[in-house]
């Protein structure tokens, strides 16, 4: 009985062309751009299936998504308002990943920054903006840096895997924040567990009246440019790249690998902390408790995790990261618009993050390898 089956499989094997995988030593710039773009298109195709599964025509769905994110001045302002923290977290992650410091604790570092900023923002009511805004930014930077540097030190001194420690750090700070806003910091006049409002002078001014984009946007752009300059122009950037590519060789050639690791953690965590400050002072004005989605704070809406996605989609590259952050902002803003218009569940963009990333890995593979049919 098994005999014919075996023949069938043999027949199939003979019919199928044999595939051979070859490495491309020098992918052209065209290839380098083509495949990532194609892989995003493939991911959007899979997204279309998800939209169709919700009983909506994918074209209608995508129309509402992009229209809702880019259709008018208000939509663009909302998109840029979301772009602000995303660019910061994306840059924070990209910087860390560049030297293979797997900082997936950006979410927690955001919350740490925001928590400390809340302390100053609430305590120093009546202080001038010229003093208070720099104070919350610097304190937020330092707090985020501290939360990132602990895992970095554990990695350098005790060889503790930072993937686990940075991630678990998110949960620790998350519950600590929940403790604060439900307990000692609770705003007595609020129905929700949240801190009292920060001082008006700590609120980030808006760039254009009536639109939600605030000066956090400028700060985010500043750090994106800083990231670009560090990587392209500075000795430190060179050391980061070398350490990330091969720490053993880097240290052989005189680079102080531990110092690079620690300084990168400080800047990465610091930028993440500022993302938290930006959300506090530009968006929420109160410190918030647990988010609905496990592992996220309501203050951050999971932007810290999105930063990982953005960094990877942007190829850890100073030009790619802003593009990816903007794309993500469009997806988030657009998913909500699509939900309101068609009812496709808004976690659509959560699902798309993973889909795009998986497709992107395939795209990266196809950039560096060529698959050829061979005869016989």
């Amino acid at each position: 009985m098994r005999f014919p089956l075996k023949n069938l499989s043999r027949g199939l094997k003979a019919k199928l062309p044999k595939l051979k995988v070859e490495k491309r030593p020098y992918p052209s710039l065209r290839t380098k751009i083509l495949w990532p773009v194609l892989s995003i298109l493939i991911a959007l195709g899979i997204g279309a299936i998800l939209i169709a599964a919700a009983g909506v025509n994918p074209l209608t769905g995508y129309y509402h998504l992009f229209h809702g994110a880019l259709g008018d001045a208000h939509a663009i302002s909302e998109t840029l308002w979301r772009f602000t923290p995303l660019l910061l977290t994306g840059t924070a992650v990209a910087l860390a990943f560049r030297c293979k410091f797997w900082n997936i604790g950006v979410e927690g570092q955001m919350l740490t920054g925001a928590t400390v900023a809340t302390f100053f923002g609430v305590s120093f009511i009546g202080t001038s903006s010229w003093l208070l805004i720099p104070l919350v930014i610097i304190s937020g930077f330092l707090a985020g840096a501290l939360w990132a540097v602990i895992p970095a030190i554990l990695k350098a001194k005790f060889k503790v895997d930072e993937v686990v420690t940075t991630l678990l750090g998110n949960w620790i700070i998350l519950y600590f924040v929940a403790y604060l806003v439900e307990g000692p910091w609770r705003n007595p006049t609020s129905l929700w567990p949240e801190s009292p409002a920060i001082a008006g002078s700590a609120v980030f001014p808006r760039l254009v009246p009536l639109y939600r984009v605030h000066i956090g946007f400028i700060i985010a752009i500043f750090f994106a440019i800083l990231f670009f300059i560090i990587l392209r122009k500075t000795v430190w950037g060179f050391q980061i790249k070398a350490t990330g590519a091969n720490p053993r060789a880097a240290s052989f050639m005189g680079i102080k690998v531990t110092r690079v690791l620690i300084t990168v953690a400080i800047l990465s965590g610091g930028i993440a902390g500022i993302a938290g400050v930006s959300e506090l002072c530009g968006t929420h004005f109160h410190m918030k408790g647990l988010g609905f989605f496990g592992g996220t704070g309501e203050l951050s809406w999971g932007y810290g995790y999105a930063g990982i996605f953005i960094a990877m989609l942007g190829g850890l590259n100073a030009i790619g990261v802003p593009v990816a952050a903007f794309f993500m902002a469009v997806m988030i803003q657009g998913s909500r618009a699509m939900y309101r218009a068609t009812g496709v569940p808004s976690p659509f963009y959560y699902a798309m993050q993973g889909t795009i990333l998986v497709c992107l890995l395939l795209g990266i593979f196809l950039t560096y390898y060529r698959i050829r049919k061979v005869k016989g």
């Binding site: 503790v160 991630l167 403790y179 989605f293 995790y305 569940p345 959560y350 395939l362």
Partner: protein, 312 residues
Amino acid sequence: MEILTYAFFITFLAMTFRMATPVLLGTLGEAFAERSGVLNLGIEGTMLMGASTGFIVTYFIGDLWLGIFAAAFIGMAMGLLMAFLSVTLGAQQHVAGLGITFLGTGLSFFLYRLFVAPAGGVPPTIVPFRPIEIPGLSGIPVLGPTIFTQPALVYLALILVPIVGFIFYRTTLGLNLTAVGQNPKAADTAGINVFRTRYLCLLIAGALAGIAGAWFSMAQSSQFLPGMTMGRGWVCVALVIFANWSPYRILGGALLFGGIDALQTTFAALGVAFPYRILQMFPYIFTIVILVAVARRATYPAALLQPYRREG
């Protein structure tokens, strides 16, 4: 007062086993993956897919075991994807694993919203796994009401420990997969199919993670919540290092973690005047502490993180 203490002790012990179960299942799976040389950071997302799929299937069909089967199946699908990315394509394992976790986290939420509960409504529930008293054994003092009166998944996890131990140390499969994780080239020249072995290990890891995830929505509670595994997948990644990739020490590590986790619930029940949110931080702090304690001595599988390619 003494009876009260005894009762709380029993509750605590029983709780320990329950809290340990998902972590035990997930870590056993992670041990398969890592012993064969693949760091599977996709475990958290795989767990969430298991939680969501298991819940959805049970919600519509009404059969818990079918739900578990579906959770294991979806876990294997995630494992297959992880294997394709990390083994076939040779992608960086950190990145591939994070991708899988993103995918699982987002998709589980999306599917749940899509099929079961649109935003805003009251979350639907299922009838979860109930404790089963093992006849004859459940009467033993202390052990009876703790170990032998538990939901079926607890027994499954406990029985898996010696089975996995047998596979790792007494079978050709165990020898092969360990060799693949230590020196894939040596395994290849000895005629072991490195790719197939890693695929198999990731499928097993995925199935176990899927079941571990289903625990949260089908035994620990009766509903699905987005992100409800609360970082337990990452705890597994830490525990497998703590346990030195040995199934028996994984049992120890999982029980230790389960104990700390149970402590917060029991503390709250005892009415100890300690902020509940601070207690919730303990399991995570504990995990970092044990990781720091063992990290220097850990002997990772030599080929972990290295994709294997044959030249030629």
